[in-house]
């Protein structure tokens, strides 16, 4: 898992998504790499709630953002300025305190590092998300019709982190990964948790198919249509830690994570599911719409087919409307937009044993046959491995050698094969190279006696083995055979046609 995560981040061939991520990494790493102490880390920690508040106000406004209000834009800009100022202050602190680092005990250093990292992270997240909210939402505002505004309030399935407005999370992927990576050195538990989470997620994703609701036939109005924005869909995490800003896919995991932030989060109440009682209330069935205009899964489409779950939305959106940025590391050809799809593919990649003459491989025979049926002139290619050579060359040679060592059989094989063995060998030598055979037919002829119509070969047939191996009756027999042989030669060629 860890490996694949890194791979995902490090793969330079990834789309702009990845590249953006990389640049951010650098920043982040620089920030973290300074590794200085932050004496007023606690102050910063206190500040954060303020920022949150700040953002809370912000979120309420991001909903309106879609109406493209210049005053809100200005507000946002000033907020950004604030944040940049904060970062600057932090970095200054780090720079100043660099020298004092030496004398500190390790524990304190790591603690402070954590604090700084957490602060930096949350600020940057807020920064970026606010900045990001400025641009894309304009487009969305243009494409989305009024109902979407109302829907924002109705996404109880996803509890958004307080600091992040629904439409302001476009850059969250970066946040997530950067977080993970930067944490790798000092927050191993967290990383592990993250990874665990992803495992869960993948299993889940594998089971859930976006098209699972194909046959569903709900009467219109019997369900509530929710439409998530593109940014929400692409955001990998939906639950964020209010303290350090780390994102999670599940609230349960977030609650587990919170325990690390203090004893108050360890109480059973804090660990319990927050709004259990609300479940008892009758709920309207929820169905989801894809935000992509013109998509069949978009609620404005004539034959709108709603998606069943948020997961379906996510997978659908990524598969259909996003670049396929995950490339299989084995075959370097197959691309996927959903990580889980890549993983599934990688499990089978390389095992594609069904090969077409055009070079395409298939994991399943019926797929290959479907392909061949479709395309003119394509045939299944037969793998080149020589598991069963028609005339076993090696075996033949070995047996021959063995037999030469063994007197009893050795003679006979030289004989009985006489012609055969050499032709066989020859054939084998040439098998790889068909030309070779045609170029050098003499070797066959000498052995096979092709041209001779008489049975001359009878004469030299059984002699040597018997002379070699057996004494007594055999030589006598041989002489008999000689007497007969002229008769054998008497047959004429045309006789042999039936």
């Amino acid at each position: 898992m860890q490996h694949s995560n890194q791979q995902r981040c490090e793969d330079p061939s990834m789309s702009d998504y990845g590249i953006r991520m990389e640049t951010l990494f650098k920043e982040c790493n620089q920030a973290c790499g300074t590794k200085s102490l932050l004496p007023c880390g606690s102050n910063d920690g206190i500040k954060i709630p303020n920022q949150e508040n700040c953002q809370m106000g912000d979120t309420s406004q991001t909903g309106k953002l879609q109406d493209w209000d210049p005053s809100i834009m200005l507000e946002n800009l000033s907020f950004l300025e604030d944040k940049i100022h904060q970062i600057r202050g932090l970095l200054h602190l780090i720079a100043n305190k660099k020298g004092q680092q030496l004398g500190q005990p390790d524990e304190i250093i790591t603690q402070e590092k954590q604090l700084i990292t957490a602060n930096l992270t949350s600020i940057i997240v807020q920064l970026i998300s606010t900045a990001g909210s400025l641009l894309p939402s304009v487009k969305l505002a243009a494409s989305n019709t009024s109902p979407s505004v109302g829907q924002h309030g109705q996404i109880p399935g996803i509890t958004f982190p307080s600091g992040l407005g629904p439409s302001s999370s476009s850059i969250q992927p970066q946040h997530d990964i950067r977080d993970k990576i930067s944490d790798q050195s000092n927050q191993i538990d967290l990383t592990n948790m993250c990874e665990m989470e992803q495992n869960h997620m993948e299993e889940h994703e594998l089971k859930d198919e976006e098209d699972g609701d194909e046959g569903e036939n709900l009467p219109p109005g019997s369900f509530e249509i929710l439409q998530l924005e593109k940014e929400e869909i692409l955001a990998p995490h939906t639950h964020f830690c209010t303290i350090c800003g780390k994102g999670f896919k599940r609230d349960a995991n977030l609650r587990m994570h919170m325990r690390g932030h203090g004893d108050e989060y360890k109480t059973p109440e804090a660990l319990a599911k927050p709004n259990k009682e609300s479940e008892s209330e009758p709920k309207l069935i929820k169905r989801y719409s894809c935000p992509y205009p013109g998509c069949k899964r978009n609620k404005d489409h004539k034959k709108f087919q709603p998606l069943k779950t948020i997961l379906c939305v996510k997978n659908h959106y990524k598969r259909t409307h996003c670049d396929k940025s995950y490339i299989c590391s084995r075959c370097h050809t197959k691309k996927f937009s959903v990580m889980a799809d890549l993983k599934t593919h990688e499990k089978h990649c390389g095992k594609d044993k069904w090969l077409c003459s055009c070079g395409t491989t298939f994991s399943r025979k019926d797929k290959l046959f479907g392909h061949i049926a479709l395309f003119q002139g394509h045939t299944p290619a037969i793998p080149l491995d020589e598991s069963k050579a028609p005339v076993g060359q090696a075996d033949m040679e070995i047996t021959e050698n063995n037999n030469n060592n063994n007197n009893n059989k050795g003679g006979s094989i030289n004989l009985s094969f006489g012609s055969n063995a050499s032709s066989c060998e020859n054939g084998i030598q040439n098998m790889m190279n068909v030309k070779g055979i045609t170029d050098d037919p003499i070797s066959y002829l000498s052995s096979l006696n092709f041209e001779t119509c008489n049975f001359g070969e009878f004469n030299d047939f059984p002699r040597p083995p018997f002379e070699d191996t057996t004494k007594g009756s055999f030589p006598f027999l041989m002489s008999e055979s000689f007497n007969y042989s002229p008769k054998c030669g008497g047959e004429s060629c045309p006789n042999n046609l039936l």
Partner: protein
């Protein structure tokens, strides 16, 4: 000089026209021996060559350069090396016009050789690679180079899978006839692709394949299909037949024999409304000939062949068939239950054109039925009455006086047959095949009638006709000069003298003489020396033959292709000689050869390795023989059967 002038009058084209009139091989052989000009004409006009020995392969191919058919099925040692020599030596004119290639049982051949051969023959239209059990997908891919291929027979190519079939389907899209019998690895997928690519298929044989009804769905889309043979497709059920019902508008023949899950009603609905149907085979398929099926047979006026072996029939059903299917040429009722005299009488009364009638094991029919057959079916060519015990000589009086076109008569185990019955048949002078196995009442007198009256006889089976002796054989041999196949197994009275008479049969190719305990080496030597065409010899339990007899066989019976020496007394040395010297030998049965040791057997097998394609040995030897020899035999395409 006179002859020369006569020949000068005969121009080449006239000679060709004369030659065309010569039917038999023997006549053609005589023609070849007349003079060089005749030989030349013969070689130029010859269209078919069947090679018996690899030694002559190259020479014959050079001589007969206008051949259309090359048959290598009985030629030993056809392997990749041989093919490359064939193609690299001398002129390749013979490949130019070659249209048909018979490589049946060429188990030594691999995909390289096959590929070379196929590529060398640009006009190839038909290939037979049946019983090449070692063939797999590579060989199939090699076959697919023959893009003009119209006819392909690949029965029992055990290694061919869907992939191989797909190669053929794509490469040979003009296929009209394809037989995949016993290619067990082929599944629905392959058949589906075949039906998508080879739209011209007219004849398809998918017997014994593990296909389901899904395949029939694909097959139903073949609009030109005329004949579908699906014997023993035990996974196909009525659903499959329903698919066929809607497709294949030109279907003329269907064979659903031994399809255990095909019901009479499904066949009924398939058959009904297809007045173009000519042939129905439903042997060992369902228990009873249901009334609806019989009813729908009424509409099949063109039906020529119906075989419903082992089905319970009623007189009424037979009557309906007889009165409505007037064009019937062949009826197969072998082992049918409920066949009575009345049923047969009503059946044949309408079938005046009938040529073949199989009543094997219809035990309740008597002379009355046979008389009715003789009365109604003057064109009868083949009549099979095995185990019809109640038939007596009286029947043959009628048959012999009315069915003068009879060519094949199977009277095995008809205990009512005697010498007089054979006398009555004397007017059936065209008789080619006569089976009298287990007819214990036949004596030398009967054989004398046979010898006198059936000059064209090619095959006679006298299995366990214990009353016949040497004199009978003398009469037979003097009269039936054309005899090719003779079975005298367990006719214990035959001695070496009888063997001498048999040796006069110059055309004899198959001789089965199991359990002839009085025959010694002398007798068999005469046969070996004189019957030059002898290809198949069964000497099982001929215990007195021993070394001298086998010796003679080894040195004289050059054309021997199969031999059974089980329970014979043959020593190591002679066995070795036999196996080594008989260059055409391809199948040997050596179960319990007394006096032969394991080493002797091994030597013998080594001596024949490369040529031999099938060996039968007792199971106990499987551990005693060295694994090398077993492997080697396997690699050279030889199959070992353990008894």
């Amino acid at each position: 000089m006179f002859s020369e002038s006569v020949l000068r009058l005969l121009t080449e084209d006239l000679l060709v026209r004369v030659l065309e009139k010569l039917g038999s091989d023997a006549d053609r052989k005589s023609w070849r021996l007349v003079c060089k000009e005749f030989l030349r004409i013969e070689s130029l006009t010859r269209r078919k060559v069947r090679i018996l020995r690899i030694e002559f392969l190259l020479g014959l191919l050079q001589t007969y350069c206008n051949i259309e058919t090359l048959d290598l099925s009985v030629c030993p040692r056809i392997d990749d090396g041989a093919v490359s020599v064939m193609l690299s030596h001398g002129s390749l004119n013979w490949t130019k016009g070659l249209r048909r290639l018979v490589l049946c049982r060429a188990t030594g051949l691999g995909y390289r050789g096959l590929g070379q051969l196929i590529r060398a023959c640009p006009l190839l239209e038909a290939v037979d690679v049946s019983h090449c059990w070692v063939f797999g997908d590579r060989e199939a891919a090699a076959l697919s180079y023959a893009t003009r291929l119209k006819e392909l027979k690949m029965d029992k190519c055990l290694g061919v899978t869907d992939v191989g079939l797909a190669s053929i389907a794509v490469g040979c899209s003009n296929l009209k006839s394809l037989s995949l019998k016993w290619c067990f690895e082929i599944s629905n997928l392959g058949i589906d692709l075949l039906c998508k690519k080879c739209l011209d298929l007219e004849i398809l044989d998918i017997s014994y394949l593990k296909l389901t009804s899904e395949s029939l769905k694909s097959i139903a889309s073949l609009s030109k299909l005329e004949m579908l043979v699906m014997v023993g497709c035990s996974f196909v059920d009525d659903v499959g037949l329903r698919f066929l019902e809607k497709g294949c508008p030109h279907l003329k023949a269907i064979d659903v024999s031994r399809c255990d899950f095909v019901s009479s009603s499904a066949l009924t609905s398939l058959v009904s409304g297809r007045s173009s149907l000519l042939q129905i085979d439903a042997r060992y398929c369902f228990l009873e000939l249901s009334f609806p099926l019989v009813e729908c047979l009424k509409n099949l006026q063109n039906l020529t062949v119906i075989r419903i072996d082992a089905v319970q029939v009623s007189d009424l059903a037979l009557q309906i068939i007889g009165t409505s299917c007037k064009s019937l040429l062949e009826i197969g009722l072998s082992k049918c239950i409920g066949v009575t005299n009345m049923g047969i009488m009503q059946l044949v009364s309408g079938c005046g054109k009938l040529k073949i009638l199989n009543l094997t094991c219809c035990r309740f029919i008597t002379d009355v039925a046979i008389s009715a057959i003789a009365e109604s079916c003057p064109h009868l060519i083949c009549l099979m009455l095995e185990s019809c015990d109640m038939v007596t000589e009286k029947s043959f009086y009628d048959l012999g006086s009315r069915c003068l076109l009879l060519e094949e008569l199977d009277l095995t185990e008809c205990s009512g047959i005697n010498d007089r019955a054979l006398k009555y048949l004397s007017r059936c002078s065209g008789l080619l095949t006569l089976k009298l196995g287990l007819c214990t009442n036949i004596s030398d007198v009967g054989l004398a009638y046979i010898g006198c009256n059936f000059p064209k006889l090619a095959e006679i089976d006298l299995y366990r006709c214990v009353c016949i002796g040497d004199d009978g054989l003398a009469a037979l041999a003097s009269g039936c000069k054309e005899l090719i196949k003779l079975n005298v197994s367990y006719c214990n009275r035959i001695t070496d003298r009888g063997m001498e008479y048999i040796s006069y049969l110059g055309e004899l190719s198959e001789l089965e003489m199991r359990g002839l305990v009085n025959i010694t080496g002398m007798g068999i030597s005469k046969v070996a020396v004189n019957c030059r065409r002898l290809a198949d010899l069964d000497l099982k339990h001929c215990e007195k033959i021993g070394d001298p007899g086998c010796w003679a066989i080894a040195f004289y019976a050059h054309n021997l292709r199969q031999i059974n020496l089980s329970y014979c007394a043959v020593s190591d040395v002679v066995l070795y000689l036999l196996m080594g010297k008989l260059k055409r030998l391809q199948e040997v049965k050596l179960v319990n050869v007394s006096e032969a040791t394991v080493r002797g057997l091994e030597l013998g097998l080594r001596a024949s390795c490369g040529r031999i394609k099938k060996v039968k040995l007792q199971t106990s030897l499987s551990l005693l023989l060295s694994s090398e020899i077993l492997d080697m035999l396997h690699l050279r395409g030889c199959k070992i059967r353990w008894d």
